[in-house]
Amino acid sequence: MTTQNVDRRSQEGAPGATDSGPLSLPDPPVKNPGADRSPGDKALSAQPSTWVAWAGVAAFLVLLMGILVSVVTDSFGRAWYAQWLPTEFTASWYAEAWTRFELGHVILVTLVVAISVVALSILIGVPASYALARRQFPFKRAVTALFLLPVIIPPITFGIPLATVMYNFGLGRTVLAVILVNLVPSVPFVIITMTPFIEQINPAIENAARMSGARMRHVFLRILGPILVPGILAAAILVLVRTVGMFELTYLVSGPGTDTLVVSIFRAMTSAGGSEPRPLVSAMAFLYTAMMLVTLIIALRFVNPTQLVARVRDGDDE
């Protein structure tokens, strides 16, 4: 390369044209970040719009970290008044939370509920999204709208009568009830996210399987299932996160022994006559976040969350 070239590249270059063109190869790692810039464009880091965007990101992250760190600090602190840090550090809040609220059991319940909800909503939702994605049938629009409503209607609107119905059937305060109410928004959620995902899969693949002699069951288990795995995982994670975090509905039907973690925390925060000490709540809140984080980190190893809407090969990701 001539010196001229070096000069030129130090002056310009920009994003754009990062795409692999018609080739769907995964892009190799970029050694030189400027190498994918079109001539005449500024480096990504030199664009004013970049600075604005990054400043926003920085503010967001500062807020985020501040929130996280302050809760963690609080949860390990004792007698934190108007100083920068608590006067005393202790892990006793965790111990107290653990025994007082039987968190071991609560977490177990939370996991059981979350996993059951995920599994059931996938089992019920995916076949339905298949039918919606592939078939034209009478009243399809009505059915689609019906599936959309529970996601759009605020949980509190249908949660109260739903809880009453649960109690009427003698299901109050059972794990089953907690699972069922959480399915109400989860099944439609799976349907809504999986339908476009299935639509993007070439129907010829199913046809090919049928032409090879596969019955519908085999088409589903051996062909569609595996192909849908990324989409199902993405949907599953979001359902998992929503279920673990779902307070409004769970609270209405759960009771001691069937509370999920978030409800336990809420009870601790709002129990009448005041509330539990703040660090205790902080400790529980942090346990909750830690649990979610671990789940999410494990999950992100397997799925790309941007596959939520479109099944896109994120070629730009390394």
């Binding site: 994918d36 604005v52 108007a82 759009i152 609107t157 975090g245 925390i265 529980m284 941007t306 099944r311």
Partner: protein, 310 residues
């Protein structure tokens, strides 16, 4: 082959009944829908109808005070300024929050479409808040952004401000909480809509002489718009039913007395279930109005294929 009389307009074909049913979309694959439909009817439609029935059984006190017979709850909802004001209070929170989340996510999603070092880290950090949960967010905001929190202390010590910023227990607190919980969601959705747009369109526009602004406003934005509308609706729905954070970091007596809080008070403090149901249903309705307006607007947009690689 049957020769039953044809009632439909196009002449009935001569193929076997199975084919003719299949042609109308009726075949065994429809069974896939059955579990989901049964489920929705039992656990959503039935309770919902029950709740709606409740709204038509107003408490005596409500009928006495507001009149209107079986519609007394509705009369009260619209007649009681204190209650009705909540519609506005809720909208005032939810619409800006959803708008902000969508608008802020656009440039970031675009920036993060490019490749650069640390991209994965940043996207992960942006998505992180979905793990926080309302409680931790609220707790953290109170501690971190409170009058005496680290944020204010730092800013005071740095001399950037001379009065602590009022960031919690008010409108701003709830807005912040809604942004923290809603933004990652919007960011994820918009990112994936964006990657659905054929990158060669941008290149085509470049080759035709369009600068970045022109490309953004004339190509990317119009193609992204339907996705933005959907994202807006979804984050708006999340924000509209805000409840825990409105109580915890807001000013639930005043500026953040959102509909969910009002419904909950009728339910849990005044034990007026019919009225609680009414507020809840009106809340759903108000939300649907906004959703409908957005969807109507969306129907004017181009929403065909964006030529993505999907």
């Amino acid at each position: 082959m049957t020769t039953a009389t044809a009632r439909t307009k196009p002449p009935r074909g001569s193929a076997s009944l199975r084919h003719r049913l299949a042609d109308r979309g009726i075949d065994s694959q429809l069974l896939f829908l059955v579990p989901a439909i049964v489920f929705i009817l039992a656990l959503f439609v039935y309770p919902f109808a029950y709740g709606f029935g409740l709204t038509l059984q107003p408490s005596e006190e409500t009928v006495d005070r507001w009149g209107g017979g079986i519609l007394a709850n509705y009369v009260r909802f619209f007649g009681d300024a204190f209650t009705f004001e909540s519609v506005w209070l809720t909208a005032r929170l939810a619409i800006p929050a959803a708008l902000f989340n969508v608008l802020a996510a656009i440039p970031l999603a675009i920036k993060l479409k490019h490749r650069f070092r640390g991209k994965r880290l940043i996207s992960t950090l942006l998505v992180l808040p979905i793990t926080l949960g309302t409680v931790l967010t609220a707790q953290g905001l109170l501690i971190f952004a409170g009058r005496q929190g680290w944020l204010n202390q730092a800013l005071l010590n740095l001399g950037i401000i001379d009065q602590p910023l009022e960031l919690v227990h008010n409108y701003i607190g709830v807005l912040l909480s809604l942004i923290i919980s809603g933004f990652p969601f919007a960011f994820l959705l918009i990112s994936s809509y964006l990657s659905g747009i054929d990158p060669s369109l941008d290149r085509a526009a470049r080759s035709l002489g369009a600068g970045w602004g022109q490309r953004f406003f004339r190509i990317t934005l119009p193609l992204l718009a339907p996705g933005l509308a959907t994202t807006f609706i979804l984050t708006f729905v999340l924000a509209f039913s805000v409840f825990p954070s409105a109580t915890l970091v807001g000013d639930p007596s005043g500026s953040t007395r959102v509909l969910a809080v009002v419904a909950y008070r009728f339910f849990g403090e005044q034990f007026d279930y019919p009225m609680a149901s009414t507020v809840a249903i009106m809340m759903g309705l108000a939300e649907l109005v906004v959703v409908a307006i957005v969807l109507l607007g969306r129907s004017f947009l181009y929403k065909g294929s964006t030529g993505g690689k999907g």
